[in-house]
């Protein structure tokens, strides 16, 4: 890989290629845009610092996503939970909930999904985001999370059950 050993232009091209995907993952894993941006930057700093440890025989994609998921899980530990403006959409019917017609608009649905994802335990959230948002296979998710396919299946099932329960309140 050309980017090993401090080749800035090559690493810059990698950042350009993966920045949207990594930011997208961070955005759905964390609470807000600012935190997601900080986390996404940290992912690339860590990747640059660990390039010498990257084994070219394995997928760069999986390796980078593993750094991204671990970074987001660490951010979740560090940051104090902030009030999320759309939590009321999940928790209470009294919070000026949109009309049934608006609920079907994709932007509202997207915000509901984001709010519901924040309520999931981090490990379940990581699995379901990698599946539903990033479109990874079970095997790829197992590679990113460093776990077995069986565990991935179980986490995705539990995540969907929990989301069903949360979204039923709406």
């Amino acid at each position: 890989m050309h980017s090993k050993g401090g080749d800035h232009p090559a690493f810059g091209r990698l950042v350009l290629r993966y920045q949207d995907r990594i930011y997208n993952l961070c955005r759905y894993m964390l609470r807000d845009a600012e935190e997601a941006q900080d986390a996404a930057q940290d992912v690339f700093f860590k990747a640059y610092g660990s390039l010498k440890d990257y084994n070219p025989e394995s997928s760069f994609y999986t390796w980078l996503y593993r750094i991204a998921v671990n970074t987001c899980l660490d951010y979740g530990k560090k940051s104090r939970p902030k009030p999320f403006e759309d939590e009321c959409a999940i928790d209470s019917l009294a919070c000026g909930q949109p009309s049934p017609e608006r609920l079907y608009q994709s932007k509202e649905t997207g915000r509901l999904i984001e709010a519901a994802l924040q309520k999931l335990p981090k490990k379940l959230r990581a699995a379901i985001v990698l599946k539903e948002i990033e479109g990874f296979s079970y095997e790829e998710i197992a590679g990113v999370l460093g776990t077995s396919v069986g565990t991935v299946k179980s986490r995705i099932s539990r995540a969907r059950e929990e989301l069903r329960r949360l979204l039923k309140k709406v």
Binding site: G6, H8, F11, G12, V15, L16, Q19, D20, I22, Y23, N24, R27, Y28, A33, Q37, A40, Q41, F44, F45, Y48, S106, K107, T109, G110, L112, I113, E114, K131, E132, I133, S137, Y138, K153, S154, I156, S157, R160, L163, R164, L167
Partner: protein, 156 residues
């Protein structure tokens, strides 16, 4: 197959991750089980909600900022002060402790040399003022007269 086992297959079925044999078992169970069919419908509806999620893009200038930070960090770490501050904390602590030990050894050994030098100097000075080093002054000389005046009466 029991419903509890089929329920574990619902998500993999939705994701297209069931093998052909598992698929056959799953679909034939569903044909005769309204409870499991309902579970499948609810799981599929959650899955379909994700098609409404936005694909987000990194903010403008993100890559430029990342590369600028990396370059700045590399410049700092290659400087003298950066060599120190960019090391892990425990390594810095070890270096500081080592420097303190060297300083203490130097201070203690330096102190010992100073004490010896002072005692040598004092004894040398004392010796130099000792009248035993000098021969007795001749009686008629100024020193001899002074010496006789300075004698203690009992010593005579």
């Amino acid at each position: 197959m029991k419903c509890s086992q089929i329920r574990k297959m619902i998500s993999p079925f939705v994701d297209g991750e069931l093998g052909p044999d598992e698929n056959k078992v799953f679909t034939s169970h569903l044909a005769g089980c309204p409870t499991c069919r309902k579970e499948l419908e609810e799981t599929e509806s959650v899955h379909s909600l994700f098609t409404s999620t936005e694909r987000l893009e990194a903010p403008l200038g993100f890559a430029t900022r990342v590369m600028a930070c990396i370059e700045e960090r590399e410049q700092v770490s290659s400087s003298f002060w950066g060599f120190f501050t960019h090391q892990p904390v425990f390594l810095r602590a070890v270096e500081v402790a080592f420097a303190l030990v060297i300083f203490m050894i130097g201070a203690i050994s330096g102190n010992m040399l100073v004490v010896d030098r002072i005692s040598v100097r004092q004894s040398t000075v004392q010796e130099s003022f000792s009248l035993d080093l000098f021969q007795a002054a001749p009686p008629g000389s100024v020193g001899g007269i002074f010496g006789s005046l300075a004698e203690v009466p009992n010593e005579r």
